[in-house]
Symmetry: C2
Subunit: 240 residues, 2 copies
């Protein structure tokens, strides 16, 4: 049962935003109805399929996007084609490097996604105007920095088995943020190839380690993508 949340001046809240899941989360939560109205005049909702590129590395940025649904992957590529996933973004994250004219990563839809696209100018103007908004954008950047540093430990110091366990554990806690002792059930938002690029491994190694976790009864796999973890704590101890 879903009810529309009440704003103080709900009549002033743009129609599109009234039913938006992200209205009170992410950056929009920092805006008053008036600011929301200004912003909403410039935004548009877009759906993208898995695999579509939203922004290329080193290309000019013309817009930010709110992630409303689905998973986005940020990647970097070496000249010879070696690829590394450097970040994953979920709803209600804001997409786009604030205050940069060029993207420093390539941005791609990992699953089907819904986005609320915001022109660069519009959001940056509003940020100069609204300290709470800028603050929220900063808090997201800081959270991403924490996550990146956590991941550096995984990339630099964990074994293949620990890397794969860490990845599964991260997805499990992100998608299904129940208790650590609980059972979890979810669909992997990434292909084996994406997981490999995220972990700095080959797809074969990822596959072998997943098979091993399955053989050891730590996870159950149906249909490649669908995973069940009977006991998250048992997965947790495999993360190193």
């Amino acid at each position: 049962m879903q009810t529309v949340r009440k704003d103080i001046h709900n009549s002033e809240v743009p129609v599109l935003c009234q039913s938006c899941e992200a209205r009170h989360q992410g950056i929009c939560g920092a805006l008053n109805p008036e600011q929301l109205l200004t912003l909403s005049k410039a935004t548009r909702r877009v759906r993208k399929d898995a695999g579509e590129e939203l922004m290329a590395d080193a290309m000019p940025i013309s817009s930010y996007s709110n992630v409303l649904r689905g998973v986005i992957k940020l990647t970097k590529v070496l000249e010879d084609g070696r690829q590394q996933v450097v970040g994953l973004q979920f709803a209600p994250d804001l997409l786009g490097r604030p205050f940069a004219s060029e993207s420093r990563v390539s941005v791609e839809a990992a699953s089907q996604v819904d986005l609320c696209v915001i022109p660069k100018q519009a959001l940056e103007a509003l940020m100069l105007d609204s300290a709470p908004l800028e603050h929220r954008v900063m808090m997201q950047a800081l959270r991403e920095l924490d996550e990146a540093r956590d991941w550096m430990v995984t990339l630099g110091r964990k074994t293949a088995a620990e890397k794969v366990a860490s990845f599964l554990f991260m997805i499990a806690s992100h998608i299904d943020p129940t208790d650590e002792e609980a059972r979890a059930k979810f669909d992997l938002p990434l292909s084996r190839s994406d997981i490999a690029d995220f972990l700095g491994l080959t797809i074969e190694t990822v596959s072998r380690q997943i098979s091993k976790l399955k053989a050891d009864g730590v996870i159950e796999i149906v249909n490649y993508r669908h995973v069940t973890v009977p006991d998250l704590a048992r997965l947790r101890v495999r993360c190193g």
Copy 2:
């Protein structure tokens, strides 16, 4: 020949700040003399030797610090002792995770450092008050995020040889930011052990790769720490 820079109301600029190298850089550059005066009443200068720990992981934070001289390393440690350096900070960076009650990394002086220590309360109060200050802090966070992501590519996808070359290239460009075609000469701010922890390698592998670069004439080593790079472009191509 060093001259003291003129502020509009130089008389109002605190004595300590007047001769401070970082006065117009880092976060202090975003402050007017009045704000600087308020802040300076709470700060104190501290010198730390290489190896001293400034902040422990998961411990409460009571202060921020401006790095005035030297190199700081941010590390994370796994339960079994495996260590990963997740960031390096140079002058005039601000030390300390903004708006967090606990540190998420362990902070250690990699060389002898001079710091300007700022109580947590004082800086955060000023940030709420001054959008330009908060903006500058955000810009640093975003730069650190960019750097972390660049480093994830190195950790995840580069060979040992490329990792070591990348590290030397990064230090060379940071310490001696001359042209890429130029000759560079500098002291390594990190021990072999720190370099290994930064690159996700062992000290033996780091040593071997440095020896190889030396044998190939890409770098010259005097005295372990002191490095000369006759041609940065030749080092650059080894970074992958």
